[in-house]
């Protein structure tokens, strides 16, 4: 079977739909906000990530080929059941990757770029990391090759997932039919994921299927009474592309120099962790926003918080 790259194929669609969203917003036909410098940062990060991707692609593909040579089973690339299986397993892998990327600072340092816009539009979807390869999150996909899925098949499925996640970065689409919202990741679900309201922090990690969040307790519906405020807990004060791309890595390095004996916490603690408790994690922000009511159990508190609190986007 000839392999292809869904992301490359979809690039003209990305450009055309960003143009469409801007023009329709200009004509007051849809709800979308674009700030030129924010858009420049998002798109430049997207362009840079393709270059960074090429740099790391050789290593990650070689690793997956090596693992594939030691596979447990041989899964055919031309069987429908194999594509259904790789779709489900890749999407689950994405959920794990995405959750780790929010819950552990070393991986958050790579992922934070995607969340650092105060806007939520189609250009935000292209705001991709430059340092994901260095962070090593691609290792999470190796078990699929160990199971016996050909690396090209996994790469295609990853591309399909990335393309799917593009169109959900919009305020233009409010709600989709209930059955679709129940099963799939949608603009509404993903707006919550990009919001910095305490209730919405660290929710909805899904790639394509929102069922993983429902299954693992990280789902939060968008509430009409609480509009999403986008960005990160401490929004960026600069449009300098290098500060945007590397700020969390630099902050980690500063913390490591300041207090090397807490290296494990700085690297693998949740974002916002500090040895003296002087900073706040998402869990602490949620606890402050939704303190336990006197005489009431934690179940109600948890519901008010929209599920279990974790950490900090």
């Amino acid at each position: 079977m000839k392999t292809f790259d869904p992301v490359t194929l979809a690039t003209p669609f990305f450009i055309a739909t960003v143009i469409l969203e801007i023009v329709l917003a200009r004509l007051n036909k849809v709800e979308a906000r674009y700030e030129a410098r924010d858009t420049a940062v998002s798109l430049t990060l997207g362009l840079g990530s393709t270059i960074a991707g090429v740099l790391i692609a050789g290593v990650s593909f070689a690793a997956s080929l090596w693992v594939y040579q030691h596979r447990l089973f041989t899964i055919p690339m031309n069987a429908v059941w194999a594509w259904i299986a790789v779709f489900l397993l890749e999407d689950l892998t994405y959920y794990v990757f995405h959750r780790l990327s929010h819950e552990r600072r070393i991986w958050w340092a790579a992922h934070v770029n995607h969340h650092s816009s105060t806007h939520y539009n189609l250009s935000t979807a292209l705001r991709q990391t430059w340092t994901g390869g260095v962070a090593g999150t691609w290792l999470l996909w190796l078990p699929l090759s160990l199971l016996g899925f050909p690396p090209a098949m996994v790469a295609i499925e990853k591309g399909i997932s990335l393309v799917y996640q593009y169109w959900i970065h919009t305020e233009t689409i409010r709600r989709l039919p209930a059955w679709f919202e129940a099963v799939f990741n949608t603009p509404s679900h993903h707006r919550v994921h990009h919001a910095r309201n305490p209730r919405y922090l660290d929710r909805n990690y899904a790639g394509i299927l929102i069922v993983w969040d429902r299954l693992f307790g990280s789902f939060q519906p968008e509430l009409d009474e609480e509009p999403c405020r986008y960005g990160i807990v401490k929004n960026l004060g600069t449009f300098n592309i290098f500060r945007v791309a590397f700020h969390e890595w630099i902050a980690i390095a500063q913390d490591l120099v300041r207090s090397p004996r807490h290296a494990l916490g700085w690297l693998f603690g949740p974002p916002g962790w500090s040895p003296d408790g002087s900073r706040e994690t998402s869990a602490q922000i949620k606890a402050r926003a939704f303190p336990p009511l006197h005489g009431e159990g934690t179940a109600r508190q948890s519901r008010a918080r929209g599920g279990e609190a974790v950490t900090g986007s």
Binding site: R26, Y34, G58, K234, G237, I250
Partner: protein
């Protein structure tokens, strides 16, 4: 690794980025942001620093920022693009910040938000100056 086809693709993508940014600038569809006044500054400070009491507030004369004292801390609000960002620094640091040409420049000690500039008639306030 970087063959000619890839370099052409990157160059074309760069041109597309420039065109899209130009389109976004032309469209003028950023969030409408009115200059801050006392009430809106307090609102934004409340969003950035929920539950923090504000002892005293100075709103920039151009409405693009604000500085508040909250106990031993200074709460800084400044406009970045079409949004406001907040940072907290020690009050003593804010009090001793450089004031030149009608603006105070605050070192926020944050790689993601290195400094904030706030236009004020004078600084430090006469009653707080040492």
């Amino acid at each position: 690794m970087f063959n000619q086809a890839f370099l052409i693709q990157v160059a074309a993508s760069g041109a597309a980025v420039a065109a899209l940014v130009g389109l976004a600038a032309w469209a003028r569809i950023a969030r409408p942001l009115n200059p801050l006044d006392d009430a809106t500054a307090r609102f934004h400070l409340g969003e950035e620093f929920p539950g923090r009491p504000i002892d005293r507030l100075w709103v920039a004369t151009d409405g693009a920022g604000a500085l508040a004292r909250s106990g031993a801390s200074a709460l800084v609000l400044c406009r970045v693009g079409d949004a406001y960002i907040g940072r907290q620094i020690p009050w003593a640091q804010a009090l001793s910040a450089a004031f030149r040409d009608g603006r105070i420049t605050l070192d926020l000690s944050d790689v993601a938000a290195p400094k904030a500039t706030i236009v004020l008639p004078a600084w430090p306030p006469a009653d707080l100056a040492a």
